[in-house]
């Protein structure tokens, strides 16, 4: 299936409540998910926000991932992941910066991975 692209601008994109999307999504800027997404979600420097009503079952590769809803799958965030108390997370999580709020349900394998290979001493 050909990947679906959101527009290249940094404006927000929204998958609203009641909307279900299956497939490969490439996005720029910010993508808010209040509906259901199954497949892959990719963004070079973008932010994925899974809202409290959102359900994502996907392979995710983004810069920042904020989870307030349900997530299952693998999420790789090169900058950070935030998991809030309404979140239910399962699968694998890889990031250099992980923020978890008290009350969040996180049943995931967590891999703390550095942002970038640091350059050595002079």
């Amino acid at each position: 299936m050909k990947p679906m692209k959101t527009n290249g601008s940094s404006s927000d994109s929204i998958i609203g409540r009641g909307v279900e999307v299956t497939g490969d999504l490439l996005f720029a800027g910010e993508l808010q998910v209040s509906g259901k997404v199954t497949g892959t979600l990719t963004s070079q420097d973008g932010t994925l926000i899974i809202e409290a009503t959102g359900e994502v079952d996907a392979q995710v590769d983004v810069s920042v991932c904020v989870i307030r809803g349900k997530f299952r799958g693998n999420v790789k965030a090169k900058s950070r992941i935030e998991v809030y108390k309404s979140a239910r997370v399962g699968g694998e999580v890889a990031t250099p910066v992980l923020l978890i709020e008290e009350g969040a349900e996180c049943n995931a394998a967590i891999m703390m991975a550095s942002q970038a290979m640091a350059k050595g001493q002079g």
Binding site: S79, E82, V97, I100, E101, Q115, A118, Q121
Partner: protein, 151 residues
């Protein structure tokens, strides 16, 4: 001259009037007390609430600082968090940094610090740890350093 009956009636009427006046005075008094209590309650309620101290941090970057056995900084690196975010009470935060020795010489590290910095570059919090002994990082070798915070 008034008869006994007239006198009793007049006394009764006077007593009624006095009791009425006393009752009215009592009522007014009660009203005043109620009003002052209400005013007091209002004044008490109007007292300014104790100031809530905002302990949240707005984090924009973090730094890894490596030190040798003498406490001298041997290496440092700044990382971006991908945009500022709030670190509030009830949150736990883990940060992982990596150092790869790309030089031709081994590097000796005795302690490390990870600093959380704000949008203006000021250091908001530090996590530090020492190894007790010097950890030698060979050329080409990578070491991970993890810091954790809770508010």
């Amino acid at each position: 001259m008034k008869s006994d009956g007239e006198s009793i009636e007049a006394n009764f009427s006077l007593r009624q009037r006095i009791e009425g006046a006393v009752g009215l005075t009592r009522g007014l008094g009660r009203g005043l007390v109620d009003s002052s209590n209400a005013l007091l309650r209002r004044v008490t309620k109007a007292k300014p609430k104790p100031e809530v101290v905002d302990t949240s941090l707005r984090i924009a970057h973090y730094n890894l600082v490596l030190m040798d056995g003498d406490g001298q900084v041997v290496w440092g690196m700044e990382y971006d968090t991908g945009g500022p975010f709030s670190f509030r009470p009830g949150h736990r935060l883990w940060i992982c940094c990596e150092f790869t020795n790309r030089s031709a010489h081994e590097a000796g590290i005795a302690e490390f610090e990870i600093e959380l910095t704000g949008e203006d570059g000021s250091v908001l919090s530090r996590f530090g740890d020492s190894f007790g002994d010097i950890v030698v990082v060979q050329p080409g070798e990578t070491r991970k350093f993890v810091g954790q915070w809770s508010l």
